[in-house]
Each structure stands twice: as C-alpha cells, then as structure tokens.
C-alpha cells in the first residue's frame, strides 16, 4: 500500500489545534511509520505539495494569504478536514467580525496603544491585507470532515487518523462533533 501523504495547515488560529496534534506524543512516531508528513509548521516545506491525501486545516480565513492558501490546499488535497472550532465555525478568530471593518481593530492596536501613535502596517506583498470578515473555511471551500473542539483533544485526533490510516471514513459521532 502507498504511504499516506498527510499535511497540516495553519490559517487564522492560535496554533492550539496544532499543539493538540503534537500532544499525540509517541503516536507521532507510530504515525510516521505509515504516513509521510509532507507539509506542517514543524517541517521545512515552503510550498504546499501536490497529491496530498489528507489535510488537517486549523484556523479561520482572516486575510488574503489565508484565502489563497486554502484554495491551493483544496485543489491539491483529496480529503480536507476542518480542524477545530476556528476552522469549522470561526470561533475566537471571528470575534472581530461584529466590530465591522478591520480598520477600527487595527487602529486600536497600532494607533491608540502605540507611542507615538502610528498607522497600521502597510508593506505590499509582505504584510497581508485583512479580509473584511473572518470566515470559517467551509465558506470558502468544500470540507470533507469537521473535527470540532477548541482544540480537539489528542485522543479524538488520533481516533480520526487511525480510521483514515485503516482506510475508513471516520463516522459522524461524538468523537468528531464536540465543540469547545
């Protein structure tokens, strides 16, 4: 059997979902025996590769770079998992939405609290532009599975991965759908 090509992606989130992935602890070693981790914040791949079997996507879509990245991930991935509550529902990352446009949020951080008061950062091509509203990933692409939680605990992540490694689609049960 071909080795599974697994990726993890970090969009607008706190990395807590990735930390929970690392909480797989020694199962990570077992996982590496049957799967290649082809893209992940802890490996040095700079470009999202083609022909990825499974991707865990953490975080909501908060800026233009997140959006472009997510579209690329969808195009190159067979089975895309919304990993955690930010990806699946916006969660904390989307808490800026009720404030309206990003300008007021930026102003608070870069004008009101900076000395001397400044203006928000602008550097074309370097600092990405914020989207008017933060979106959960299913508003941008199709999602194959929602693994909820803030973050989903390591045993729940392991449950999903073990089923995928065994060639099964994880059932839609309490191990998958549980917020918070």
């Amino acid at each position: 059997m071909d080795r599974l090509r697994l990726a993890t992606v970090w969009l607008g989130g706190c990395s807590g979902c990735h930390m929970s992935f690392l909480d797989l602890d020694e199962y990570l070693i077992t996982l590496a025996e049957v799967a290649d981790i082809v893209y992940c914040p802890i490996i040095d791949a700079k470009e999202y590769p083609r022909d990825v079997d499974v991707a865990l996507v953490e975080g909501a879509v908060a800026n233009e770079e997140n959006r472009e990245m997510l579209l690329r991930v969808r195009e190159r991935t067979k089975f895309l998992i919304a990993f955690g509550d930010c990806a699946g529902a916006g969660n904390v990352t989307a808490m800026r939405n009720p404030l309206g446009d990003p300008e007021s949020v930026l102003a608070r951080s870069y004008v009101d609290t900076a000395e001397p008061p400044s203006s928000p950062p602008v550097a074309a091509g370097i600092v990405p532009i914020l989207l008017p509203r933060v979106l959960p990933i299913h508003r941008v692409v199709n999602v194959d599975l929602f693994l909820q939680g803030c973050p989903p605990s390591a045993p729940r992540i392991r449950n999903v991965l073990e089923q995928i490694v065994a060639g099964r689609r994880p059932p839609f049960d309490d191990m998958v759908v549980r917020f918070g």
Partner: protein
C-alpha cells in the same frame, strides 16, 4: 537596481512570518528584516465583555502558551477584585506555570531547533525536522516528546485539559490537585530530570562546534528584562520587574507591574504586525531589550534549586555574567527546563496543593488591574480597565515575543552580514541560518499579533530598488 531575497514562510517557529533581505544598487547588503504577517485584534474585541471571561478568551491568543495568558489574566483579575488569593492558589498557579515552561521549552528545543543543532544547519531540509530526528536519534527524540508530555500532563491534571484549560480565575484557581494526580506527576519527575541533563550535555559542545553561529546569531549589547524575587532570585509567576544593562548592571529594580508604562513604550514598524516595545527612558534606539530565557538568566542572581544552580555557575563560567549572543537562548532554555523540573518536584511535597479552598471570592473593588507573568518566551503583561459592573473598557496586552522584535531584526541583519554580504545565489543552508536565528528566540507569533490574525514567515533577498532576488516562503 536594488534586489531582495524573501523567506516565506519561516518554518519551525510558532506563527506566520517572513524574512526579507535587501541589497543596494551595487548588490551590497542593505538591510534584513523580520515581518510578522498575522493580526487578530484581541485588544479591541475584548472591550465590552466581562473581565471574568478574560482568562478563557485570552488563553486563545495562543495555543502554545495558553497557560501564560491564563496567569497574567487571572492576576490582572485579582487586582480588580483587590483580594489576596489563598496561598494554595498561589502555589497551584506556580505549579502550572512551571509545567508550561517545561513543555514549551521542550517543544522549542526538541521539535523546533534540535533538527538544526543535532542534524546540522545544512542538513537536507526534507529530513531536517522532528521526524528526521526520530530516525537519526530515536532515543533522544522520544525523550524530548516525553518531556513535553510531562509538562502537558501536569497542566491536564490541574486544569482538566492540556490546551486552554479554564482553571485559573480572578481570585484563585478552580480546583486543587488530587492525591492521585500528585502521585502520577511525582512518578515521572526522575525521567524528566534525566532528559534535561542529557540535553544539556549534548548542547554544551555545540557552543564550540557552531562558534560561527554562536558569534553571529544576534550577538550585541542590549538591556534585559525579567521578573525576579525580592532577593533577586529567578522568578516565573510572582516577583517584580528588573531591567539590567548589557554588562549586568541593574538599571531598574523591583518595579511593580502596575508601573510598567513608566518603563515600557511601544512603536509600530510599517512592515510588520508585530509592535516593538522599548525601554522608555532610553528611547527606541538605545532602549532595545530582550526577554525570555537568556534575559531571565541575565537578570537573576540564582535559581534556588541545586542542579540548576550548578548549571548556572557553569554557564556563567563559559559565557560571562550576561552572555550577549542570542544563540545562548538555547542553553538558557535547557537550564530552565532543569530548574522547572526541580521546582515542580519540590512543590509537590507541599500539602497546600491539596487544599480544598483555593479561591477568594469578591466583586469589583478596583477599576484597573495589571497582571504580569513570565511566559516561556518572556515577560507578559495584561492591563485591563473595567467599569463598576466589571465590563472591560480598555485592554492592553504586551506580549513576550513583541519585546524581542527589535532584537530579532538586529539578529537578521547580523546573520545576513556574515553569510550574504552581497547579492548572489545562496545555498538553502544559509537561508536556514536566518530562520534558525529567529528560532533561537522561540518567538510565538500567534501571541505577538494578539492584536488580529496568523503568521507565515517569508525570507526575501531583495535588491535596493525592491526587486525580489529570491524568496523562501512558508504559508
């Protein structure tokens, strides 16, 4: 024509960032910059919410050090209640914060930086990672994973969850430790201590093996900031602020958190979402200071636990009273792991940890509170203003990593000067050194851009007219 190299994203760090390297018309190095590309806006969207929610919300600033935010937030809340928390709560919070330092430092060393340090800066990028380390050094890699697990399990024993536990609250903590949990933690102390010692012994010879990196990864004089106890001892949860100069001279001492504004101001860089704090009395140029393991060891007199104190003495024999190279962050971090494990071991004997009343109850008694704690990567401030009903009117967070922003930029320039003095094709290993320079600080960019977003890292090699020469990115 001016040119630039872009590294995008920077990998094996906590967050989204880019590095750009700029060259002038003659192809000579002009500047190298570190950019954080993530923004989330916590300061703004917390306004109008009850301060009681803040430990739970601000923990979500960051999944790597949620506990640090929990502590700073709960301490700011204690100030607003104007209560003295029970001694048991103080000790329980300390236990969790130490566990947090151990797990986060283990992550920084084993998962993020050991691939550079033990496999080599020029090793094949395809295997220069944790999984490559598992293949090359299975025993050490497994030990590193289990050390992080040791810290994470203590957090889970106390807070019920490894990440984002809702446990510390204004006035104390939710639950004490159970005798079963205490026994389970105690059973793993020896292994954790051994792992810390093994890692230290592996690291020390690298100071000579990588002499070039040691002398060029951000070696410059700066101020250092950290919490210390009343006697100048190393602190992580309590204590007051101390600034020391590059030669170890104490510049300001025993500053209460509430006076942080007299000492720290923040500037904005036009090309990064990361703000840059500086030591106010000296201004943004001369007021550059560093925080985190290197700074904490430079500001403190001693740890107060035997093995770590012996290591500290050796560290100072090798590097002087206040080592100035950021490469020493790794060394300082490993000593802090050992100190953390020793302090956890000592704390576990304290019967107060099992006390059933680890919380003081009160309502809003003060309209302002500042909480400070040492996150693994440095000093963290939460400053809240509330109305009579406890509704937040104003929130300011000064995040550990932000305070290293100016120093990280200087580090980029120094590394670029050493390895890319003029524009030419550079081997991947050189670009990796720029990233490794950032990794030594163990920045946490989800934290630092608490203000709003995520953080990819890009390193760009740029000519002075802005043309990008080459670019390495991680999204």
């Amino acid at each position: 024509m001016t040119r630039r190299i872009v590294i995008d994203p920077v990998t094996r760090i906590e967050g989204h960032a880019k590095i750009t390297i700029h060259f002038d018309d003659d192809g000579r190095l002009a500047d190298a910059r570190f950019h954080v590309t993530e923004f989330r806006g916590f300061e703004k969207f917390c306004e109008g919410r009850p301060f009681w929610e803040m430990p739970g919300i601000t923990a979500r600033v960051c999944g790597i050090c949620p506990v640090s935010h929990l502590m700073a937030s709960a301490k700011a809340g204690d100030e607003i209640l104007a209560v003295e928390i029970p001694p048991s709560a103080d000790k329980l919070r300390r236990l969790m914060n130490l566990a947090q330092i151990v797990q986060s430092h283990a992550l920084s060393f084993f998962h993020m930086s050991a691939p550079d340090l033990l496999l080599g800066f020029d090793a094949d990028p395809a295997t220069r990672n944790l999984f490559g380390l598992v293949a090359a050094e299975p025993d050490l890699a497994r030990r590193g994973i289990r050390l992080r697990q040791f810290g994470q399990e203590i957090i889970e024993h106390l807070g019920g969850k490894k990440i984002h536990p809702d446990w510390a609250v204004p006035g104390g903590v939710g639950k004490p430790l159970t005798p079963e949990s205490r026994a389970a933690i105690a059973a793993k102390v020896d292994e954790a201590k051994t792992t810390a010692i093994i890692a230290l012994e592996r690291f020390k010879p690298l100071l000579d093996v990588y002499a070039d990196e040691r002398d060029n990864f951000g070696d410059f004089p700066s101020l250092f900031l950290g919490l210390v106890g009343p006697d100048g001892a190393w602190e992580n949860y309590g204590g007051k602020l101390r600034f020391v100069d590059h030669d170890g001279t104490i510049v300001a001492d025993q500053i209460p958190a509430s006076e942080y504004r007299d000492h720290i101001a923040e500037v904005v860089q036009p090309d990064s979402y990361l703000k840059s704090p500086y030591y106010r009395p000296r201004g943004p140029v001369d007021g550059v200071y560093r925080v985190g393991p290197l700074a904490r060891l430079n500001v403190c007199s001693h740890f107060g636990v035997p093995l770590a104190d012996r290591e500290l003495a050796e560290y100072r024999d090798r590097g002087g009273r206040t080592p100035s190279s950021s490469f020493w962050y790794h060394y300082a971090r490993l000593i802090e792991i050992l100190a953390g494990v020793e302090m956890i071991e000592r704390l576990l004997d304290d019967p107060d940890l099992l006390d059933h009343h680890p919380r003081s109850h009160a309502q809003v008694n003060r309209l302002e509170g500042v909480g400070v704690s040492e996150a693994p990567r440095g000093t963290l401030f939460h400053h809240y203003r509330v109305d009579r009903d406890g509704i937040l009117q104003n929130v300011n967070l000064i995040i550990a990593t932000g305070q290293n922003n100016l120093a990280m930029n200087r580090t980029m320039l120094q590394i670029a000067r050493r390895w890319i003095p003029d524009f030419r094709p550079v081997p991947e290993g050189v670009l990796n050194r720029l990233e490794a320079g950032i990794r030594s600080f163990d920045p946490c960019l989800s934290c630092s851009t608490h203000a709003v977003g995520t953080m990819p890292l890009i390193v760009q090699l740029v000519a002075s007219d802005g043309t990008t020469l080459s670019e390495v990115r991680r999204d």
